[in-house]
């Protein structure tokens, strides 16, 4: 796919200027400009295994919450377990993060086709039944939250500098979610490894994305961590 300028798209990452300044090459994924790499594919793979930071903000995501939300999503074919604070992997690779008994944050797979998310957004409506069947309410998660992924074996130690949750690999297994404070911001952490490489998805206030990006890079520096493109992250699988 041809490289593009991020501001050519209507939908833009909250940190696209920072990515551009770091030499990112952008590609369109589902009408969003994603930093696909920084021009050093092999080195980025190595970094991703050690400690990489990828901006996935342009990839599709949505959310549903309120009475009946989970049941409705299950009726739409989503596989969602009973336990909260777990991420449930869907057949297409999407992840349904159950934040609470009646709240789901749905993030796309790294392919970013957005098919499931688009289908759900289209399927949801107020309906005309009286009384209306309660099916929860959609949440604008693609805009309320920036989406970063931290990959690599040094990620737990890096997180220990900015977050009070014990994210060591043997203590915080894949699929677990922490809703916590990260560098003094509220955020959601989901561990979902890519192949053998630990990956932590980080969802936090989109308005503070600039700040969080810098705070993460600062915390990563001592481990030799650096930004990586989506391509490196995909390559870990």
């Amino acid at each position: 796919m041809a490289a593009i300028e991020p501001h050519a798209q209507l939908r833009r990452s909250f940190v696209y200027r920072k990515l551009r300044d770091l030499g990112a090459r952008f590609e369109t994924v589902n009408s969003g400009a994603v930093a696909i790499d920084f021009g050093k594919a092999a080195a980025e793979m190595e970094t991703a295994n050690l400690l990489g930071l990828a901006d996935l903000s342009p990839l599709p995501r949505t959310g549903f919450k309120g009475a009946g939300a989970v049941e409705w999503l299950q009726s739409q074919g989503l596989q969602i377990g009973a336990e909260s604070n777990r991420g449930y992997r869907q057949p297409g690779g999407e992840l349904a993060l159950r934040l609470a008994p009646s709240e789901i944050f749905l993030i796309d797979s790294l392919a970013g086709s957005g098919a499931l998310i688009e289908r759900l957004n289209q399927a949801w409506s107020w309906g005309s039944e009286k009384p209306r069947k309660l099916i929860g309410y959609p949440m604008p998660r693609a805009d309320s939250h920036a989406w970063f992924a931290l990959s690599g074996r040094a990620a737990p130690e890096m997180f220990a500098k900015i977050c009070g949750i014990d994210l060591r690999l043997d203590k915080f297994e894949g699929g677990r979610i922490a809703q916590t404070s990260i560098a003094k911001m509220s955020g959601i952490i989901l561990r979902q490894d890519q192949g053998a490489t630990p990956v932590f998805h980080l969802l936090a206030d989109s308005a503070s994305a600039d700040y969080l990006w810098e705070a993460l890079l600062d915390a990563m520096a001592e481990f030799g961590g650096a930004p990586v493109g989506l391509s490196a992250l995909r390559g870990l699988a």
Partner: protein, 977 residues
Amino acid sequence: MTSMVETGGVNRLPDSFGRLIDRKRRVAFSFEGREIEGFAGDTIAAALAANDQWVLSRSFKYRRPRGILTMAGQDSNTLVQIGAEPNVLADRRIIEPALGVMGQNYDGSLEADRGNVIELFGRFLPVGFYYKTFYKRGSWKFWEKIIRGRAGLGKVDLAAHHGYFDKQYLFADVAVVGGGPAGLSAALQAAEAGAEVILIDEWPALGGSLCYARLGREGDAAFNLAEKLAAQVKAKGNIHVLSDATCTGWFADNWLAIVKGSRFYKLRARSVVMATGSLEQPAVFRNNDLPGVMQGTAAQRLIRLYGVRPGRKAVVLAANDDAYGVALDLGDAGCEVQAVVDLREQVPETAMVHATRGRGVPILAGYAVTEAIPGTAKLGILGAAAARIAREGETDGAAAVFECDLLCMSTGYSPAGQILHHAGTKFTYDHAANMFQPAILPPHVFAAGSVNGTYAMEAVLAEGRRIGWAAAQDAGFARGTEPPAVTGDRGSFGQTHAWPIFPHKAGKDFVDFDEDLQVKDLVNGIADGYDDIELLKRYSTVGMGPSQGRHSAVAAVRVLAKETATDLATLSVTTQRPPYVPEKFGHLAGRVFEPERHTAMHHRHHELGARMMVAGLWYRPAFYGKPEDRDQAIREEVQAVRSNVGLIDVSTLGGLDIRGPDAAEFLNRLYTFTYAKQPVGRSRYVLMCDQTGAIIDDGVACRIHDEHFYVTATTSGVDGVYRLMLQWNAQWRLDVDVANVTAAYAGVNIAGPRAREVLAKVCHDVDLGPEAFPYMGVRLGSVAGIPARLLRVGFVGELGYEIHAPASQGEALWDALMAAGGTAGIRPFGVEAQRVLRLEKGHIIIGQDTDGLTHPFEADMAWAIAKNKAYFMGGRSIAIQTARPLTRKLVGFTLEDPSAPVPEECHLTVRNGEITGRVTSAVRSPTLDRVIGLAYVAPDQAAEGANFDIKIAGGRLIKGRVVKLPFYDPETKRQEM
């Protein structure tokens, strides 16, 4: 005698000594401007001692020369200044190339201090000096200059560079504090039981006292044991060792604060083993503070850790067997031991005593050192006077003087129990051991080794194993067999002398080196009535210096017990609080995480030359232009909106989606207006009051669907409003979902007579005509292909559309509108212009024109209160308030004198010298060309045309006149175009 090696200093010992130094790497630094050479791994004090520099600094009060006391960073004698960094522990800071080290607390030079003259006036500085001096009127005036000139330790550089400090969390099943034999043994056993262990140790090498002390006659037995244990620890995969790290405090739920370099660790452990060891205590005699007088363990550290000979001729003041280890070590290091002066009448003939005698060293049993004989300018000592002990604390007076430049004190220990104290451990005094010992430990906290009164090495190791296992079990691990309990003698008897205090009639017998407190100071303080240890501490300042009583607390309690004829067992040392050692502000601050919130158009504002202002965490454009052009820029922005078209970023406004069958009822209860019959496609003003009836927020509620309201809130108020909504939703149990979508929506307000024309260029799916989309209408549509919620609002008093769109597309929305408005001359405007525009229109800003007590009737907002609602938040309070006469009223005003200055916010409105209210907003209106404002005035001055006085800066009174609101477009035709 071992031959001396000149390299690395005249006192440097051969290779077999100095475990922490690397003789292959020489390091040059300076002390007091003089170049000094040491080896990598040397501390400043070690390198200076190797080069025969024994004076490090001067004492705080009397400016007495001070040198090495502990070589363990436990005292204030070694505080030095390195560049901008004051109070560096010279006996712990490792030397680096080109380090510039200076002594502290002197005028002139370190070795010839002009300030030392104060010692001559010591008798005019009695204990409790502040208490006795400053109750007299005028005394501060006399003393202030003197005290300010001498106050403080070291020099603070106010322009000092900010260092890089950070923090990190750590987690462990078992945390072991202290890497001595007990700690190593405990860590190994806990790890063996299956626990994940973190071992925290202050030193670069594990082993604690094993690294420098002497176990029996053979000098290397201790070190061999240290190496063996350290190797076992290293081989354990589940022990994480933090070396060079100091645990500075224990907090609730086993939260340990740890400082290592520039990092502050926050460790949470399920159970904690304190194996912090013990602190050797100085004996008290005249001149016990001078350079050359040091603890026996300090001399051993110099010899074994740094390969430095502590002196040429030595006397050892003894009261335990370890003192003989010191004497043997000094001999091994080529130091001539003149005598061992033993406080004990009967000296047990142990192997080390026997070996000492074997070397021909005289042992004076039942003797005390009464005085160290000072050398020139007290920069060192020339000898030690010893006399036979007649009774407790007294000698028969006939002193023999031994020539020496080193006097080592080995008369006893006190548990390093500070962190155990933090955890709430109770300590009691054991008369048999002459030491305080932990008696009751809190849950999940354990103690092992000499901090627990266990000194015999086999017992220490066994106790470490036992306690390590117990701690692991407490943390939920119990693999392996429980080690047996330690029984029998743990070696605490005979370690510490009951009364190593020998006051001298000429004084200078220091109990507290930090504060230069002598025995008589404490005695006098007690005589003054401060006969409780906590009172005595504050009165005399004993234990209040940098070393926090580590070497003075026990001696002070002993003196107190004697003077008050109290049993020591009924007393305790003063309360110990964190931190155990000083923490820098940098450690506490860490990386200073200060989140900022940027709107989607943030960078566009910068590109357009905006001056930003802070609103909570948000950054908003105040105005566009250079700071020096501020007023002109604001005027032009106002004019653009009034006469053409402007665009403002309103993304920071709060946005709340209220959805569900009971959404209207929910708003009815929370806000003062009614919403049940509000049509879909319309917005309505919302005013929120708290339970006391005070105004707390406002905005608009846009009905997007019968069950869906999109409610705006103020930038700074939305988080509080959201919290209230969640709280009341949980309480009322209505069928409503509340979502704070502030960050999800970017927002702009395109305002001005040409707003419709510009918007129409990029909005094709909404009929923007005044009938189809009237004032206060709400529509869903798209702008430049971006899905949007469009609101017709009138905050600035012109035709305007607020457009709320997904944040990820906010920048594209801004770009599209700026491009569409290009030919019309659209101008971005900032918060400052908006404030002027809204004031011209008479709209209030919550928090600026209201305060924490303003109720709606005072603010002339009665129109926003529904008359026939059964309930709304604050309604009952408002009803009560309105039944009473008003005490103030918010009015619009202008000035009678057009040339009078613009009043500032919070300038008072007054009548006959009494305050009646205050100005809340005021500006010279560019549109109306006169001063306009809002102010609280007395109710009887609130009628249109009434005059009132405003007291402006300098106390001048100017005349205001009440004007009917709004100031601009009273028929509101412009916003409804």
